[in-house]
């Protein structure tokens, strides 16, 4: 293949990654924005989504599309409920103290991951694509399903944007994000909101997992890398900003895809991580705010 088409191919692959990444990052950003906590277990909620998708699809025989649609319906709910439960059982008791919350979410990370290892096993397992159509793009063929992934992510992002900007629920979230104490004074039930947001953040990541599994296979260690990338996206895109997150996800997803294709995946991650460090060091208080002592 010549360079031009090759670049196009790499960009398309990058776009698929960017689409899923923006969903994962958005979940992380939502949780941080509203609750002011860093959820280190976020990647594991994504992984949980992936293995449950495998489960659902292996449970449903026949047309893979049925299993896929079923997964799209139930997986976000199961994963969301898991997150709600962990907030209710654990985080709420820590009063969302930043340090304790990080430590606790690391704990949750290991528990979910190792639980997956126990039940799902150590091997990567594939999920069949709901439809298997290849589009001929003149220089190379490209799976139609990958376009579907991009398309679905866009739809979901638009839906989230609508909810955030046009509904009363969105208003409540924005008010809480701005100033939780005042919001509480105006009768917003903060702890319920936190509970829901934590579940929602995980559920959004789970949708990303359902979409990616037919391309990428499910594995119990698959949560680490998207967590790292989502951190990078959220930090570069600015916390709580939907547009910034999507823009940064496209930037990071694409360059990760392209650099990985042309050089090595590790170099791509090293560069992206360096970028974050630089951003954080230049803007020390900009992103996570100053924690009060």
């Amino acid at each position: 293949m010549e360079l031009g088409p090759y670049l196009l191919f790499a960009s398309l692959e990058g776009l698929v990654h960017a689409a899923v990444l923006s969903l994962i990052a958005l979940g992380l950003s939502l949780v941080f924005g509203v609750m002011r906590i860093v959820n280190v277990a976020h990647g594991e909620f994504f992984m949980l989504g992936a293995i449950i998708t495998w489960w659902v699809s292996s449970f449903v025989s026949g047309n893979p599309a049925i299993g896929f649609l079923l997964a799209l319906l139930v997986v976000p709910i199961i994963v969301g409920m898991t997150a709600v439960l962990s907030d209710w059982l654990i985080l709420r008791h820590l009063k969302y103290d930043p340090e304790a919350t990080i430590i606790a979410t690391i704990g949750i990370l290991y528990i979910i991951q190792q639980f997956a290892l126990m039940t799902f096993g150590p091997d990567a397992k594939p999920v069949e694509q709901p439809f298997n159509i290849r589009l001929d793009l003149y220089w190379f063929g490209f799976s139609a399903y990958k376009f579907f992934v991009i398309f679905s992510a866009i739809i979901l992002l638009l839906a989230i944007w609508l909810v955030m900007s046009k509904t009363k629920f969105g208003l409540i979230l924005r008010a809480t994000q701005l100033d939780s104490e005042t919001a509480q004074a105006f009768g917003i039930p903060i702890s319920r909101v936190y509970n829901i947001v934590f579940g929602l953040g995980a559920a959004i990541a789970a949708v990303g997992a359902v979409l990616i599994v037919p391309i990428q296979q499910a594995h119990y260690l698959m949560g680490g890398e998207p967590l790292l990338l989502a951190f990078i996206v959220v930090i570069i895109g600015g916390l709580g900003s939907l547009k910034g997150t999507v823009a940064a996800a496209i930037l990071i997803g694409m360059s990760d895809g392209i650099i990985s294709v042309f050089f090595s995946p590790n170099i791509a991650k090293i560069l992206a991580t360096l970028l974050v460090v630089v951003v954080l060091i230049i803007k020390p208080n900009g992103l996570f705010g100053t924690t009060k002592t």
Partner: protein
């Protein structure tokens, strides 16, 4: 003051007696040698986290800096043990200085994330430069290189004493810091850094010193781990090796001298036991992390100090 020093010295004496009286089985002797070196790493971590109040999520960077500095210099450059240890100390001090200088521009959550990211960069670099580091697979330091003052460090007995020596050294440094005016200022910074600043302390400089001491001790522990147990691999640079010392310190008691040792013994045997039952033994780490954050914030020694023995350092 007196009681305190006696307590810590007798803990060391006890560890010495365990060996000299031959109480250990071979299995536990090996385990304890490992635990002692890891506890030295925990002591290093504790100086930054427990005393200065800075939560790093990237200490595996310092541990592996020492590990690889000594390991690679023995493996590729035929350094002897003294030279490689010296190199490891210098390199980990230098890296702590640089990382500290950069990371201390941030505070709170950003500090945790930045340290995590730095250590990720180190981990990925070790994988990337696989032709030198042998990547994931790692490399073995031959027995013939592991000789110090004509003693064979792979001999279990000598290995145990060496590990105890390293741990004692780090622990005594820790004790001395805890008792010194410098240590008091670190604690003041942990308790209320704004106030410490307004009392006229150069808080940033103190934090930087704390990172350098912490990172160098961690690096020394890493170097000794490679030398005593003969293996160097990328897994020691992975995130879990940043979480372990945090966990040991939390379990044993942050800001206590004996805490890291108690925590390391506890976790080592818990994981050892769990790994006999299941491959998913790391679940223990998760449960333990939740347990300490939810129910035992002070840790074992910390709780003892809070309730009964106020004099424990």
């Amino acid at each position: 003051m007196r009681k305190d020093i006696i307590l810590h010295l007798s803990a060391l004496l006890f560890l010495f007696l365990l060996e000299i009286l031959g109480i250990f089985s071979e299995y536990h002797q090996g385990n304890f040698a490992r635990i002692l070196v890891l506890a030295a790493y925990g002591v290093g971590y504790n100086i930054l986290f427990g005393y200065t109040g800075l939560l790093s999520l990237g200490h595996a960077l310092f541990f592996s800096a020492g590990l690889y500095a000594s390991g690679l210099s023995i493996y590729h450059l035929d350094y002897n043990i003294e030279q490689s240890l010296f190199l490891a100390i210098c390199i980990s001090a230098l890296i702590s200085l640089i990382i500290g200088f950069l990371a201390l521009r941030t505070i709170g959550v950003s500090f945790m994330i930045v340290t995590l990211m730095f250590s990720q960069i180190a981990y990925l670099s070790i994988l990337y430069f696989g032709s030198i580091t042998r990547g994931d697979e790692g490399f073995v330091i031959q027995q013939s290189s592991r000789v110090f003052l004509s003693m064979d460090l792979s001999n279990p007995k000598i290995r145990y004493y060496s590990a105890l020596l390293i741990f004692s050294l780090c622990m005594l440094i820790n004790l001395w810091i805890a008792k010194s005016p410098f240590g008091r200022v670190l604690v003041a910074i942990r308790e209320n850094s704004d106030r410490a600043l307004m009392l006229g302390y150069n808080v940033k400089l103190y934090k930087l010193f704390s990172i350098i001491i912490s990172g160098t001790i961690s690096g020394l522990a890493g170097a000794c781990y490679g030398i005593l147990f003969g293996y160097v691999g990328a897994s020691f640079a992975a995130v879990s090796y940043s979480i372990f010392p945090l966990l040991w310190v939390l379990i044993g008691g942050a800001g206590t001298v004996l805490g890291p040792l108690i925590g390391a013994i506890f976790m080592f045997y818990l994981i050892d036991y769990a790994s006999d039952i299941t491959d998913a033994y790391m679940i223990i780490v998760g449960v333990a992390l939740l347990f300490v954050t939810l129910f035992a914030r002070r840790g074992i020694i910390g709780e003892l100090r809070f309730r009964y023995y106020k004099w424990i350092s």
